[in-house]
């Protein structure tokens, strides 16, 4: 195979591949390739991660909620089997990370063939639970400072991750929550489903990142919780005090990412008053 192809509603993304490194059909169909842009993880035919581009996903998913919180000591990650999210969370030196990933094969294959976690998945501050994240959140008795939902596109296996019941439980157990919320332009229906079902959160704001490994290159995230009003000066101060090193994220980009194109602002305003 010379090109890996991902189609999405009349739009396609192709990545030139050099070699297939791994393949496994279990809970999900896992593929790992060597490409022109480094290692690539594919789950059920959807590109999850390419080394050259992944910082614009993981850094924006993680540092936006983590720096909005004044002192995130306890962090919950739902999904994120490749370990990129855990890697970024660890830069904030929290006391405790709980990561709930449903598919052990993703964790094992990513550690063995990609290594994007940079050792995070074996960090002593991280507890990895191989179980259903939705069940975990539903029955959870603890509270977390920050909750990060690092899930795949909606699929038969993951569609409960996009339900109002799940988001309601997330709001109950966390101060601040972030999640990927699909392409607003190529997956408008899924994006709107997330906006409709996240109403249990007191406050919500949509932000964007340039992610060439996802169709269309424009990807959205939702920041949600009771208090999202960190000023740019507070964010800068926290970023410096915690000595965060990044490739993509800056505090100014954090601020700019919430400024949406006019057509997207209109859609968001239909759901968030």
């Amino acid at each position: 195979m010379e090109w890996f192809v991902e189609e999405s509603n009349g739009y396609g993304l192709m990545i030139k591949v050099k070699k297939k490194l791994y393949e496994h059909k279990g809970l999900q169909y896992i593929e790992i390739y060597e490409t022109e842009f480094g290692k690539m993880l594919v789950l059920d035919g959807r590109i999850q991660l390419i080394e050259k581009f992944e910082s614009s996903y993981h850094e924006m998913l993680v540092h936006v909620p983590m720096l909005t919180h004044p002192k995130p000591r306890k962090v919950l990650i739902i999904g994120g089997g490749d370990g990129g999210t855990a890697r970024e969370v660890l830069k904030h030196e929290p006391d405790e990370i709980v990561m709930v990933e449903i598919d052990r094969n993703v964790v094992d294959a990513c550690r063995k063939f990609i290594g994007v976690d940079k050792g995070a998945l074996k960090d002593p501050h991280l507890t990895l639970l191989i179980e259903d994240g939705i069940e975990y959140v539903r029955s959870c008795k603890e509270k977390f400072d920050v909750l990060i939902v690092d899930g795949t596109d909606p699929s038969p296996a993951s569609k409960s991750l996009f339900s109002e019941e799940f988001y309601s439980a997330c709001a109950r157990i966390s101060d601040i929550c972030s999640m990927q919320s699909q392409s607003p332009i190529l997956q408008k229906r899924e994006f709107q489903l997330i906006l409709a079902n996240t109403s249990p959160f007191a406050k919500r704001r949509v932000y964007l990142s340039y992610i060439p490994m996802y169709p269309g290159g424009m990807w959205s995230f939702l920041l949600a919780g009771d208090n999202l009003d960190a000023s740019i000066d507070e964010i800068k101060k926290r970023f410096e005090e915690r000595e965060i090193e990044t490739e993509y994220y800056t505090p100014l980009l954090h601020l700019a990412a919430f400024t949406l194109p006019k057509w997207l602002e209109k859609i968001v305003n239909e759901y968030i008053k």
Copy 2:
């Protein structure tokens, strides 16, 4: 043909096509398709425009320089044969637009099969010259308030559009200039070539837009000239006074578009002190 495919350095973009509407091999190889996202213009195998996505290109190319200028009365467009740039410039009601497009077939085919110019190419304020834009700028004795370079990717035919000599002439005849400057991530070499060769301008700033019709979805522009320091309040005021209607652009997005990812800031800082 079911999919149109554009490859760019190991990365590919596919658009599902319904029908080929036009094809002509002349100065450039012109193709026009009906797609899932409206009409699509392709020149020499590169997607130039898709109706659903074009506002994020034309509005950012045009309104950023036009609103940075306090009173743009005379505007020069180099290229822009589809007419989308002229359409956006006309929203500012300038006294005069000169548009210099090298390929009459592009103009005629776009007017006949796409119509994205919304009549702009026949507007009485617009003078359309079918000639080489580089020659025009080199020998030009007039001065323009705003100059917009709406060219294709570098190719044997267009590579002089990326030369220091051309940019030097642009700086001589205009107050403010904007140009598309390629994908900084997938066409880093061309992006850096533009940064290196635009040094004749007194001031330069790079900005970004989400453009799913170009590979990777992240596209860059360069704003250049003697004075680029319009405040957000001035931009807002001009936007309101001129009663500009947009799909993508807002004054806040104008400001946010100059905030670059950290890795890109580093590259830009190597060229712009």
